[in-house]
């Protein structure tokens, strides 16, 4: 099921919100559903997930900050590749998305 707590169905100016095809992906091994082509970060946000990574030295949590690919706060490990900017990387079916600790998965 698609988590939709944070998703809008209708908007006073934009009208009905239309999305791509629903696709399954995993977050730290757990199966979630989002919409194809929306940024990975958006699918996570819709599912209520806030923490994308923990910093290397102090292990401080980080999440979405600029949402346009500039600040790199939202980077995660996607399909085994670290430092992927999830706010500008489109979601694909079957993606393996993991919380990043420093530059590694746990």
């Amino acid at each position: 099921m698609i988590a939709d707590d944070m998703r809008m169905k209708d908007h006073p100016i934009l009208g009905e919100i239309s999305k791509g095809r629903p696709v399954e992906f995993t977050f730290d091994g757990k199966t979630l559903t989002g919409y194809e082509d929306e940024p990975i970060a958006v699918a996570l946000k819709a599912a209520g997930l806030m923490v994308h990574r923990y910093t290397s030295k102090h292990r401080k949590p980080r999440g979405i900050f600029c949402a346009i690919g500039r600040c790199t706060d939202c980077v995660m490990i996607v399909d085994g590749r670290p430092n992927v900017r999830t706010c500008v990387t489109p979601l694909r079916e079957g993606m393996d998305v993991r919380t990043q600790y420093g530059v590694e998965a746990k």
Binding site: M6, R7, M8, P12, I13, V51, P61, G63, I68
Partner: protein, 532 residues
């Protein structure tokens, strides 16, 4: 190595406009943008733009973006997305990267329209998930249909902070407060008023002290600042919010121009380090132009005109148009740009706090600057906001009290009731001779939502028509509360008419009936009296 006559870096309003102008003259144009979609920030701008018809006023930003894209495509402009320009080198060679591959491209002329980046303020806990930029909020809700949070604290009362607060409410979020360290609201008073009347409080001279929470924001501590920007001891209070949204200004993203060797200058009124440009967007390096926020922070409307001037300049310098034709093109553009830079929000006025009167000599509303709404007692001095001679005829009340370059109210009134005149920063006045028919086009078209129609009846009731852009749209017969300018309930109200014609462009005009004694107070409607 590929070569183009005109390379544009940045597919936002300035870049696309420049590309269109140059392509129209016959140039071979390439637009490069690092994003996955073109349009820059335009597709996140869902509000109606200010200005006049030639500035695309009263059209929503995303619609303008669609038109620009269509035009560029039809003129054969090539757009490369997901491509980042890393540098501009000798003889206008650029190096860009896509999918980890590097490419060199040569441009006879290059327009840098890279836009701006958001400023940030550090405070304890500012790196916690839940602290976001105002741009991030717009991206999530207006592009992707996901609310950035449920309960929001907005930091910054400039136009971005005010407009994004309003958009957050349109998305269904609760804006708990808008704070600003400055003692005055920075953005347009009309933008502040449209959030104030829904009940959002402003805390001026306040800043964020701390974002609280273990791994995401669970509340925010704010405090009052004294004249030395220090927190006043004992003034701290905690707001229950899950999101802290930062809107504290923009800085030109001028690094490409600086590293290319352009002469630069630090200009605080324009937002920071900008290239030194001629009147026609030419930087100190031949063949390199700058337009839009990268050349100084302004509105998207100004960016589009600057882009067109740059495109015309490149076309002239490469012989596609004659000097005469160039002058014809840019004279109008310069005039149009000049109009947008007039008034009390023009960038030459930035940072000035000594303005106490309008151009016409009316005393500015202090309450508007400090609380976000005009105090009823201050309204009488503004001619278009005062009640008309015959209150039993429908008539517009225009609560537009600052000199902002904007005139759609005059433009859409087919009866000529509303007069701004040629100088578009002038406050509108009501014609003595023309008669209002109550069509409500002015109500829906005013980008500041500052126009209301009022009609009193002999039976002691009054009908107020007001702009409404929230869901659910109230229906005829719905009962609720009329709210005043600060968002407080003043009396019971019933919806008597709901207008939503296509020409109103999603601004519904609600007509509510209230007791006549509240006609000068009721400015918003809340169905059932519940919170929006």
């Amino acid at each position: 190595m590929n070569r183009y006559e005109f390379i544009v870096i940045g597919a936002g309003p300035a870049g696309l406009s420049g590309a269109i102008e140059a392509a129209k003259a016959g140039m071979k144009v390439l637009v490069i943008d690092e994003n996955h979609r073109p349009g820059g920030q335009l597709f996140k701008q869902i509000h109606k733009f200010f200005g006049s018809r030639e500035h695309k006023a009263k059209i929503r930003g995303f619609m303008i973006g669609e038109k620009l894209l269509e035009e560029a495509t039809s003129l054969g402009v090539e757009v490369r997305l997901d491509t980042t320009v890393m540098g501009i080198y000798k003889n206008r060679e650029i190096i860009c990267t896509k999918d980890d591959k590097i490419e060199h491209i040569k441009g006879d002329h290059i327009l840098v329209a890279a836009g701006a980046s958001e400023n940030m303020i550090p405070f304890e806990g500012w790196t916690l998930p839940g602290v976001i930029g105002a741009g991030a909020a717009q991206t999530m809700m207006n592009l992707h249909g996901v609310r950035p949070g449920n309960k929001i604290l907005m930091v910054g009362s400039g136009n971005v902070g005010l407009v994004v607060s309003y958009q957050l409410m349109q998305a269904g979020c609760d804006v708990v407060a808008i704070i600003d360290a400055a003692p005055r609201i920075g953005g347009y008073g009309v933008h502040a008023s449209k959030v104030a009347r829904t009940g959002v409080p402003f805390h001026l001279s306040h800043t964020v002290v701390k974002a609280n929470g273990d791994d995401h924001v669970t509340s925010a501590t704010i405090g009052k600042v004294d004249s030395n920007w220090k927190i006043v001891e004992g003034s701290q209070k905690t707001l229950e919010v899950d999101t802290i949204c930062i809107a504290v200004g923009l800085s030109p993203m001028s690094q490409l121009l600086r590293t290319a060797g352009c002469l630069m200058a630090e200009v605080p009124q324009k937002g920071g380090l900008i290239p030194v440009c001629s009147d026609y967007t030419q930087t100190s390096l031949p063949g390199i132009y700058a337009a839009g926020d990268v050349a100084g922070i302004e509105e998207a409307s100004s960016a589009m005109i600057q882009g067109r001037i740059a495109g015309a300049q490149a076309a002239r310098n490469s012989g596609y148009i004659s000097d005469e034709e160039f002058l014809v093109r840019v004279t109008d553009l310069k005039k149009s740009l000049g109009q947008l830079r007039e008034g009390m929000f023009g960038h030459e006025m930035k940072g000035r706090t000594d303005i106490v009167k309008t151009e016409e000599g009316f005393t500015l509303s202090k309450s508007l600057l400090e609380k976000g709404y005009i105090d009823e007692s201050e309204l009488a001095s503004f001619p278009a906001a005062a009640a008309c001679e015959n209150e039993y005829e429908v008539h517009p009340i225009i609560e537009c009290t600052q000199n902002i370059p904007c005139n759609p109210c005059q433009d859409v009134c087919s009866k000529g009731c509303i007069i701004v005149g040629d100088k578009i920063t002038k406050l509108p006045i009501i014609s003595d001779t023309a008669t209002c028919t109550g069509c409500a086009m002015c109500v829906a078209s005013c980008p500041g939502q500052a126009i209301f129609l009022v009609k009193k009846s002999e039976d002691g009731s009054a009908i107020i028509s007001l702009p409404y852009e929230f869901l659910p749209i109230p229906q005829k017969g719905d009962k609720g509360m009329a709210l005043d300018r600060k968002g407080e309930s003043v009396c019971e109200a019933e919806v008597v008419l709901v207008q939503s014609a296509k020409a109103l462009d999603h601004t519904v005009v609600l007509s509510i009936m209230v007791p006549a004694k509240y006609a000068d107070k009721a400015r918003f409607f809340r169905a059932g009296g519940e919170k929006l």
